[in-house]
Structure formats: C-alpha cells, structure tokens
Amino acid sequence: MQLQETTAAKIREFVYAQFPLARQREIGDDVSLIEEGIVDSLGILEIVTFVETEFSIILEDDEMLGENFNTIASLSAFIHAKIEGTVSADA
C-alpha cells in the first residue's frame, strides 16, 4: 500500500510540475486530465517518458489507453499494477 501511495505522489508531483494548468486548477486525483484539456498527445509522451524512466518499465502500445491516462488516480493504479506485475513476473 505504501508503495502505491509513493507512486501516486510521484505522478501527482510530475503532473503538477509539467502541466501548470493542473496546478492552477488544483486538479484532484479523480479529475480527467484529458477532458479538462490539461494533457494532449505531447503531454502523454511526456508522461510516458517520465514513467518509463522513473519506474524503469516499458509501456506497450496496447497499454496506451485513455482509461489508463485519464486521471492521476487511474495512472497511478495502472503504473502500480504494472510494477507489481513486473516484480512478480521476474520472481
């Protein structure tokens, strides 16, 4: 659980820093970054690059889904599950 919170915190911090509109509007974890116009296609690329570097994972094309990237919460849950999956797959 603690790891999941750390993941969420890192993602929230990144989104607030990279997408100033999210900070200005005090976007909560459950607000759609896509519908609010905060993240566009290049924003997705920035998030992907950040996540891959920060968490040492590779995101596959079939994981590039609106539902995974829609909110800070959905992104955190997706990344957390992916890390867990990678860890257990390696084990």
Binding site: P20, V39, I44, V48, D61, L65
Partner: protein
Amino acid sequence: MDYLLHHTLRTCAERFPQKEALVHRDRRLSFADLASSVAALAQGLRDAGVERTDRVGIYLEPSIEQVVSIYAASQAGGVFVPMHQGLFAQQIAHIASDCQMKVLITDAKRLERLQEILPQVSSIETIVVVGETDVEVNRETLAFNALLATTAKKPWHDVAIEKDLGAILYTSGSTGKPKGVMLSHANLVAGASIVSEYLSITDADRILAVLPFSFDAGLNQLTTAFQQGSTLVLTTFLFAKEIVDVLERESITGLAGVPSMWALLAQPGSKLKATPLPHLRYITNTGGAMQVNVLTKLREALPTTQPFLMYGLTEAFRSTYLPPEELDRRPTSIGKAIPNTEILVVNENGQLCGPDEPGELVHHGPTVSLGYWGHPELTNRVLRPHPFPSPGDAEVAKVCYSGDLVKMDADGFLYFIGRRDNQIKSSGFRVSPTEIEEILCKNADLQEAAVIGIPDAVLGHRIKAFVVAGEGATVQSDELLAECATAMPRHMIPKEIEVVAELPKTSSGKVNYPALRQGEGVG
C-alpha cells in the same frame, strides 16, 4: 480554369461526383455532397453580408464543418482565416481585431469561451454557430445547419481574380503578437499543384490530415486532396496508436507530420512496427528537423513507405524537399527547391554564397505570399526585389528573405543551420519570445522577463523564461508557470522559469539574448 481555391473542389465534383471526398469518424461525404454543402454555406455567407475579400474567421475543431467553412468562405468571395482549435480567447481576439474579421464561424463550446472578448472585437458583425447554443451575444447569430439548408439562388458568378487575397494564416515572428501572412488564391492553387507534383498525388490517394489547417503544411493537405480528387480523412489523436489504427482502417496512402508526432509514432513498443501498412505510399515531415534516430525507426517500421523531408515557412508556403532516394546519402539535408521555385543562398553582402558558405535562404516562386496583413514595413523587410533580376524583367519580382541560415553543398543540396533572429519553434508552432514575455509581465510583481528557445530533440525548442522580480517583490516560478497555463496555449508555456537578479544587457540596454543562450550551453 481552376484559378480560385474553390474551383478545384467544383472540378472534382464534376469529375468524381460519387467519389468519397471527406471522412470524419463515421461521416463520409462524396465530392458532390461536399460541393453542394459548400455552395449552400457560401450562399448563406453572402446573404449574411460577406463581400469580396471580407475576412471570415474559422475557429473550429478538425471537422467536416471546418472544411466546408474554408471552401465556402472562398466561394463567397471572402478570405478565410483558419484559427487553431487550441488557441485561447485572447489570441482569437488579437487575430479577429487585427484582420478586422467580419464573420466568425465557431461552435457552441468555443462561443462560450469567446463571450468575454467579444466586446473588444467590434468588427465581427455575424457569428455562425455549429451546434445548439443558449449563449447570448450582442451580434447577429446564425445556425450553421440553417445556412447549410440555404438554396443557391442562381448559377455562381465569381468576381474575384487569382490575385485576390484568399487566406490569412497567423504565425509568430521573432517579436510581438502573431502576424497574418496573406496568401492569394494564386498562392494557394500553386502550393497545391507543386506539392501534388513532387508527391505524385492523384485521385487514388487517401490522405490522413492530422496537422491543423491553420498551419500552411496542414492547409496544404486539404488543398492538394481537393485539387487532385483524393480522399481526405480527418482525425485527432492522443495516442500514437490511434493514428496507426486509422492508417490501417482507412487504407491511408499519405501522411504529413511534425517531428513531435513522429517521435510519438517511433516510441518503443509502438504499434506502428507490428502493423503492416502496405497502402502507405509516403510520409512527409515539416515544422522542424526530424531526429535521425526517429527517421531510422520509421524507415524500419515502414519499409515500403517513402519519407519526404520538407522545409517551408508560411511566408513562402513551401520551399524545399529532400527526394527519398537521397535520404541515405544526406539524412540531415532539407533538400532542393520544390518545382517551379528558385532557392538562393545569399550572404550578408548580398552575394550568392559558394558551396558550404552559410547565408540566408531566399525563395523565389509562385508561392511567395503577399506579405503581412497591416504591416507594410515588415512586409518590405521580408519580401524584397529579386537580388539578381533576369534581363527583361519589367518589374523586378518579389522574393522572400526567410531569416533562416542555411548552406548549400557542392551538389546543390541545402542544410538548415539556424535562425537569424530569436524566433522559437515549439512542437511545430512558431513562437515569439516577446509574446510570452508580455504575458509574463502582466504579473505586477515582475520587472522584466526574457524568453529563449533551447534546442530539444522532440519539441524543436524547449522554452525557458528568465524573470526578474520587481523591487521588494518575490516571485515563485511554479506560480508564474501556473499563471501562464491559464493565459496561453500549451505550445507557448515555458518548460522552465528561472528567477534571476538581473538580465544580461547589451551596451544599448537591450536584453542580451545570445548571452542567455550561451549560459544554457547553446551557441
């Protein structure tokens, strides 16, 4: 004879009435359907008071309505002014006031955003709205769909000539607010013919339009398709795979993009490599150099597709392209002149440069624009008489001094070196540093600001701002960034703001931009 932009569509409707012309999501229009929608809206615009060379602004998402509006404004005798769907109200206000826009075509959602700025734009008499709206504005409002039901009263008689202004594309320079580059119908039609020629575009092509029509290369996707009778498919995307899906589903044969889009498509794990796209005949890159490693990945993923690297600036529409067979030999070249165009490299003394000698790219040909709307002095700086006129020229032709430094190798191939001024290019958009500085300095706690572009592999330039707080004031860079986010579209927002005690100045007291760039390790 197709001498006005909308003539090309009319001809396609005669040649291929039932052929698919335009696709957006599940809507498909034939050339006959499209031409009749355009004729109806053109009549509606004329009835609403549009006269020859009146400016008609189009502020819509990529959609069938957006395409119909562009051709209808042309057919009504007006000048279309396509505006990027992501612009904010203040930027729309600037464009509308600057070009004295008479009619604005927008949608209900955007009209709501524009309510606050409408009082600043007295020239707008009529607003045509796509979709239902209960927003009340103090102008004549007409429903787009009601205008589409207008019946064209009599056979159309064009009074315009090809030298008439056809479109204004707003783009930024190195200073101030965006300027409107004026394109004549002759420019638009020549641009379509030239690009169709070197990309061999025919009625067998199906072109995917991803780039916005407010951007010259984006608009060219539309003008070439409807000149040659190709099908144009419109799409917007968040994920690269959405592009790949539509390339496959719609059997797309041609795709134009900017470097940031190719970087998305070349991501590791991208579906592009795993998806056979035998129909995709060509891709074109513009709006900045494509990274060599991205190009390599694209070529591996698309073994039967020909990549064309292109270079152009809005003031001259398109200038050069690198033929695909030269890619292996000179992957960093911007190529040679497009057909029917002469490209010169001229040094500071006004002489032609020798091989590999850096100089300014000068463009001579039928796509040289009419200059900047309302800025004759600036126009005269950029559009000048041909430096080496041909014997027998009664009137010396105007050529475009691009402001881009290039060099030409011994075989005549060109290489981009950099800008002569401080202009920034961020994800394909031209950005003026002063425009961002002015917005930043609206904050009363700031004394001054300076903005530079730092080369970035994906974005072209990454924007960095340096700010100085006013006496006794303190400023936080993250708060300033948050303010920027509400005042400017994403491509203009600095990636970084650094608070400094003072800005480096030249002896005349101006901000020393080269010193700021050198401080960031950029020459």
